[in-house]
């Protein structure tokens, strides 16, 4: 008998001894329409299991595919920069500074350049000479003080 079988399965089921296949049989039986009245209470349980099997995860998962930056290349770049620096550094230091070996010649050269500096310096100060005119003008304004004196007397 089918019903007998189901009851046996249910007992096994309660003890956790049913196989997955047997459980599938139970599920099929209880989701069908002709369930024996005295087993009616099992119906919602199996219905619930079936409904819950259908629930799905609908949210998106943001999978980031950004590749990790490779720090190896930073060291490679640093080495390259250092090499270039050394290369140009050594070539620049070879340049002559323009040192004179003969003291007389050096003295002459220094005198020449100092003379040149003083010449152009004088040229610069000569153009500032007209500032004296301003001073002269300012001294003539001194008579304004006299006016101030008289006004102070009045306001006393």
């Amino acid at each position: 008998m089918v019903l007998n079988n189901i009851e046996k399965l249910l007992e096994k089921y309660d003890n956790g001894e049913t196989s997955l296949k047997e459980e599938q049989l139970l599920k099929n039986y209880f989701t069908s329409d002709n369930v024996a009245p005295h087993l009616e209470m099992y119906k919602p349980m199996f219905a619930y299991f079936l409904v819950n099997q259908q629930e799905q995860f609908t949210k998106d998962v943001p999978l980031k595919t950004t590749r990790k930056f490779n720090y190896k290349w930073i060291s490679v770049a640093a080495v390259a920069v250092l090499m270039l620096g050394f290369y140009f550094g050594t070539t620049a230091s070879k340049d002559e500074l323009g040192t004179y070996q003969d003291p007389q010649l050096a003295y002459n050269e220094v005198a020449k350049s100092l003379e040149m500096i003083s010449k152009s310096f004088n040229k610069g100060t000569a153009t500032v000479g007209y500032l004296n005119e301003v001073n002269k003008g300012a001294s003539t304004l001194n008579y304004l003080n006299e006016i101030e004196n008289s006004t102070s007397i009045i306001f006393k």
């Binding site: 309660d14 009616e40 209470m41 999978l63």
Partner: protein
């Protein structure tokens, strides 16, 4: 491993992860977050993933541990998760409403089970895993799983019988 390869591996069981997480955490939002977190963790460790024999079982163990951690921190915060995901049946048929109602009742009964039993019922009756697989996922032995499963099923049956006979809720 490319994104598509990863998705091909993960797609078949991502819903299972979600449902198991929901069974433990109860709220849908929490379960969604947990699932997302777990998938991201898997993605981050995708290089190690090929070493695992059974990625699905491994993910389930991860889910279990993650949810238990979550629950622990929740308890520490004294927060209670409120279940608000019941769908109200708009079907006009009296019978369907009744069935829907009793299905919700089953949900409530399962919710009241201890976490371990809840998890086992989920894995066995809903996800339909082998007992050995469940034992491996939960890091328990086979008999312990069976005992827990049997206890859970008996509790569910008892409560269901009571409500069925007396209509007490």
């Amino acid at each position: 491993m490319t994104q598509t390869e990863f998705l091909n591996i993960v797609m078949p069981f991502k819903d299972k992860v979600f449902r198991v997480a929901k069974r433990l955490l109860i709220s849908t939002e929490e379960a969604e977050d947990a699932t997302q977190e777990i998938l991201l963790k898997l993605w981050k460790n995708k290089k190690k993933m090929q070493e695992y024999k059974n990625i699905e079982a491994f993910s389930m163990t991860m889910t279990k541990n993650f949810c238990f951690d979550k629950l622990k921190s929740k308890q520490a915060q004294n927060l209670k998760i409120v279940h608000s995901n019941y769908e109200d049946g708009n079907t006009p048929l009296q019978k369907q409403v009744e069935l829907n109602d009793s299905v919700n009742w089953v949900a409530k009964i399962i919710e009241e089970l201890p976490e371990q039993q809840r998890l086992i019922v989920q894995l066995r009756d809903i996800e339909e895993y082998d007992l050995d697989e469940i034992a491996k996922m939960l890091e328990m032995n086979n008999t312990a799983v069976r005992v827990n499963l049997s206890r859970a099923r008996k509790t569910i049956r008892e409560k269901l019988t009571n409500t069925h006979n007396y209509g007490i809720k």
